[in-house]
Symmetry: C3
Subunit: 421 residues, 3 copies
């Protein structure tokens, strides 16, 4: 349970809010590269952290993400012409390059110096692994683009989709770090064939109340959920939290890994980025086929949009008969959509001043503590956790270890690179 | 004309409001029994007095109406599983019985006592005559379920429908007690054959400005509208107001009686319950057929919803040509829909600080006075009028009496049971 | 750039606002005559300056525009019966004539004097040239209906349409007086054959940065945009602003003239009246055919409404390929729709506290200055500019004059009637 002030601190991310300022110190995904398919393609609207922006790819293939409205008379540059290395406002023809510099102003006399005084707000962009990344913070604090495992492996090893979720980013992030609900909400849904995962399924089914451990790390935290195997060992599953809203889930045996990024669109909507990857091999044709069909953490989208076919307005196409037969806890198809149904039903911005947390909520409690501490440190000019270390080459660990070994010690052994604890 | 404060007092019914507190001292209809058709059927959402609730019928057939969101992480229990005598939250598996007791909590260790500290808000429910009744007040003040005539006669004598109306309950209640508009708004609509009602039709058509009398009663009030028959007698029609939002209309000859209950969904929406009954005989096949077809006070609904087919978005399918031919005052089909058109056009919450009341508004003025007095009494711990007396076996009287006899005296003679004046 | 206060002064027009008070001193178009096609036709809703009204044509053909809701119980008179020289409320039968006088009150006893105390707010209306004009100000200040050129010529000389625009009236008015965007936004759209306009097209294409001059007049202002012809002369195009929201554009050669009236519906919506006329000849069949097809400043409407088919929800049916081919700046069909796309994208009420104006914005700057001065004068009881002079028989001038002659001197020569400068 949080105070109203704490809830606001964690959930509001517009320009000038404490959390908004923190998020603007990190790179994060803005668009799929394919949304801007080629030089001089149509500009598109994008909203990030409550800021209305327009993205375009110029004649040289460079991406610009700029404020949506022309500084002159504030009409939308969405209607502008993207040609000859710049986006030209359709109203009076002011033209801007990807850096926001005004490069032409036909409405003023040629001798005027007005053009040089005009600047369109523009954010740093980089492309890697099919994703356009953005940095929206102060230029002097801009870090290098982080090396996450899924944006450093070959593209063949990775599958990425995204969809709009109609709730604040933070309840989605909390849900993503909450191992506890796996045994309940997703029961019956993980049933596609996982080679070598028979034991894992047994361990998970056997215990809906695992033991929870949290280990803070340089990049955020590892959340461990431990289940007694009944054979003198513990089965520990980890979920990683990476600042400020990235998440990675440990694999089931040699299955592709799952990860999410929940990027605030505004305070009541977020973009749910869904990533599957395998660190050492290409995804199989069957795997890619399944992901494209909306299985696993992915979902079918309404064509031409990033809105899911299964959504609140149609009760996520739930089938109550599956509930009664015990096949599926909600009767909703898809792990990701099951999560969305829960999270959207918490309200647009979940009010945490009235909830009842138990032992199983250790990860959520830790997450809030870490972020609130970071915000309070930031106020004292203490720099937040960095994504600069090469933790990115890291997979959240799943492991079976002797009962007498602590989660933290076990995790330290398994983590292969760059995590200092 | 009311002050802003008085208007708020009469119209706002959320938890903690004076009128909301008053309403919570009475039983009222929550659902049709058929909305929860059998044991372990799908839970449904219901909103009452601005509270979001979920209703379910457990394996034993008992009905539970509980707050919509699980106390743990506040996800909607609508997505929960209704099985084995309880509703289980789909997120982490917390399970509640119809009384709101937490009977299972798989996400916490078996030894935890956390479960015993968790309680889901739950309201008392009873079923009678095809209706699920609810009591949302303090348990220690819970009265017995009231015996109204239409919920004590055999089900064959009674027909009940309900529909959503897009306005505050109070302007609907006012309209239901306003005899004055019958001669105007509903002119031409009461033309289906009423055996023995030839005189009645003549009396009503002859006078749009009857004489109004109000008689306070133990349960609320009787509102009389008297018309001179021209034969030395008065024809008095009564409308009964029963606390806090029930209404009954006197019959036309031996026709079935009409009644309404306007239950606030929230402050801008109400559920209009429409009841036809005959105290001493089953409804005929023809009558039931007509009611099902949306005649009389009933209306056609959009399948799968309680929204009327004729609604504000389609101007209630009004036919202007009927207005010009003088057949129908609005060109709108159906007494109930005619009322809804008027009441919805008053605005979501009718602002009574700017209206002009005449002599014909005596019933409305009395209604407001009675309710404002009740609220002010309640503040001094004076108990409100009770529905405990068996006034329920009562029909609002229609009568032809000598002119020299007062309405009150005449009504006292006619009222057969339980009304003390 | 304006202060917040100045922006509010110019954009808010409800009853009691300074700009609302100013507008209420002028006649302006309320409806097309054809919207009330004959005596006793159906009443219609109309919203003007944020006031909800009902319009009807009585049995004698007279038009009444009155407040929407009956003074009694405030139900909408839209559902009323328009018959026998009055509009009768459907609820209790109160009947009003076009002047708002209550002429019948059947719900009260015949001897009651209540009727004489009831008055429905009603506004003065006049019809001319297919338009119903309204005056919403104090009766004692009512001027005569103004003689504009397009409402004094024969109906055969004039074509009028109207459509809803989803933004505040003032940004539309600013756009209408802004000559600067013609060379950019509308480039490629004026290509239907203009006899004798070859030179004009050349002049306009050659310069997107003309010289701007503003001349205040008795009725408002003339805004001149001058382009050097390269032949020792200047080509001056004028746009006229007439208080409080009328506009006229000078012709291309002998083409019909264009004009607009932007009437506030409420603060976030306006009615865009579009007028084409020729002062001395009937419009040709081809011209009328084109206007009806939605060419020029007109647009296709969704049948039965005044909403344009091309609108924000469908991105105005823009065709990006036309942008890339350089055929059309936005890929949007129609001059009027191109303007609407720009203006609606400025936001419901354009926030002028953050914009960057240049030399090309001289007309807009003058417009604001004139109106703010008028509002400040009005506060001191200084009467605003009048539309009483017969400036209405005036066309905004387009002219080619020697370079040494000033715009103001040239315009004075051309203006034929009634403009004192």
């Amino acid at each position: 349970m949080l105070s109203r002030e704490e809830n606001d601190l964690l959930t509001l991310t517009g320009a000038g809010t404490p959390m908004g300022d923190l998020m603007r110190l990190y790179w994060f995904p803005a668009l799929l590269s394919e949304e801007l398919p080629g030089p001089d393609c149509a500009p598109i609207r994008v909203k990030l952290l409550s800021e209305s922006l327009v993205a375009f790819r110029d004649s040289d293939g460079k991406v610009g993400i700029v404020e949506e409205r022309c500084p002159h008379r504030k009409v939308s540059l969405f209607y502008g012409v993207n040609r000859e290395c710049g986006l030209r406002c359709a109203y009076h023809g002011w033209k801007f390059d990807v850096s926001g510099t005004c490069v032409d102003m036909p409405s003023e006399p040629p001798e005027s110096s007005f053009k040089s005084k005009i600047k369109l707000k523009s954010y740093a962009c980089e492309e890697r692994g099919g994703v356009i990344w953005i940095y929206m913070g102060p230029p002097e604090k801009k870090p290098p683009l982080p090396d996450l495992i899924w944006n450093t492996i070959p593209e063949s090893h990775c599958f990425i989709s995204k969809r709009i979720q109609d709730n604040n980013y933070f309840q989605a992030l909390e849900g993503g770090l909450d191992s506890s609900h796996i045994s309940i909400l997703h029961k019956g849904t993980f049933d596609y064939n996982v080679a070598g995962a028979a034991d894992i399924k047994k361990y998970i089914a056997n215990s809906a109340a695992p033991k929870y451990e949290v280990m803070e790390t340089e990049f955020g935290a590892l959340m461990g959920a431990g289940r007694d195997t009944g054979e003198g060992t513990m089965y520990w599953r980890s979920t990683a939290f990476l600042m400020p809203f990235f998440q990675m889930v440990c694999p089931y045996a040699d299955e592709p890994r799952n990860g999410h990024v929940w990027v605030p669109i505004d305070d009541e909507t977020c973009m749910n980025w869904c990533i599957n990857w395998h660190p050492t091999r290409p995804l199989t044709e069957q795997e890619v086929h399944n992901f494209k069909k909306g299985l696993g953490i992915h979902t079918d989208l309404i064509p031409g949009t990033f809105k899911p076919v299964q959504n609140k307005s149609n009760e996520y196409l739930m089938d109550r008969s599956q509930q009664l037969r015990g096949e599926n806890m909600t009767g909703i198809k898809g792990v990701g959509t099951q999560d969305a149904a829960m999270q959207e039903s918490q309200g647009a911005i979940f009010d945490r001043t009235d909830e009842r947390l138990g032992l199983s909520d250790a990860a959520i409690i830790a997450l809030r503590r870490i972020l609130l501490k970071t915000l309070s440190d930031l106020k004292q000019d203490v720099a937040p956790r960095s994504l600069q270390a090469n933790y990115g080459l890291f997979d959240a660990p799943a492991m079976v270890v002797p009962k007498e070994k602590s989660y933290k010690d076990a995790a330290k052994d398994v983590i292969r690179y760059g995590v200092s604890v």
